[in-house]
Subunit: 150 residues, 2 copies
DNA sequence: GTCCATGCAAACAATTTGCAATGCA
DNA sequence: TGCATTGCAAATTGTTTGCATGGAC
């Protein structure tokens, strides 16, 4: 999906909820889609501060990220501490690997895990709505530097 | 493992780190093992307040829970909001199902998921240290009452 | 013109910390 | 006795909210 199509999707989402397209919302939205990294509200706020464009307050960053999440434009990931976001469009579902040393986040996809989750939920009489799977470990680079420190 | 053996394990853990066995620590420790439910720091603090025994401050509850977690006596689970704890001893590893309506927590065990996680980590060059898998859904009771509300 | 949105600062919730007093070992 | 521990209140962190002003439609 190109930038234009995404923009239209956002506009139509706002209209559907009778919300307004403000310069702040547009700026936050576009910035969130301009990166392929994970970012926190604070990080995004810092980007807003150092880059050019309409001034955006911290409160608006939080409010707009919440809005984007409700609209299914971004997803949040709880890193134990702050929430980080990533945009979703053109990005299939995946889970995360988090390096405990450097904080690097890698993504992986494993449909067989999803299937087993469904099964486990059914077994316990639950209707599965969503899940959060985070693998904590040490990435290759950190493992190597830990080894060379010895 | 009986209460006595668990107590000794705790005492020896404290000794190994040259920490002291205070009435507060003993009380918190025993209370944590006396329940088979999940509990938050605040809940535990409330138990301390309403039941008899040496007075325990909120700060000490937090500090001791952290200590118990480091020692591998309890494990924490992030429910999005507050952390809840459960004791580990005599309790194999499992993951959680959380009801989004009533907050009820169910446990399940699925070794095949663990195996696939290991594999995914290896594929990405990570050394897996731990993981957190939470399934969010609606428990049977809540699904039924939601249906009857209609 | 009518709501909705923004910025600001104050409020929040959960947890952590500094410090002086206290208490195990 | 010496260092760990406690309680208290103040501090922190990440996030949310109330309210007066400003702006999109």
């Amino acid at each position: 999906m190109n930038q234009n199509a995404i923009d239209r999707k956002f506009e139509s989402y706002l209209r559907s909820r009778s919300l307004k397209l403000t310069p702040q919302r547009r700026r936050i939205f576009e910035r969130a889609f301009a990166t392929h990294q994970h970012f926190s509200a604070e990080t995004l706020y810092a980007w807003m501060a150092e880059e050019d464009g309409p001034r955006v307050s911290r409160a608006t960053v939080y409010r707009t990220l919440a809005l984007l999440e409700e609209g299914g434009f971004v997803e949040s990931l709880d890193t134990g501490g702050e929430l980080v976001y990533e945009h979703i469009l053109g990005h299939g579902h995946h889970d995360h690997l988090i390096c405990v040393d450097c904080g690097r986040i890698a993504e992986f996809r494993e449909p067989r895990i999803e299937e087993l989750q469904e099964q486990a939920a059914r077994d316990k009489g639950f209707t599965l709505l969503s899940h959060s799977l985070r693998l904590m470990g040490r990435c290759g680079a950190c493992a190597r530097s830990a080894a060379s420190d010895r």
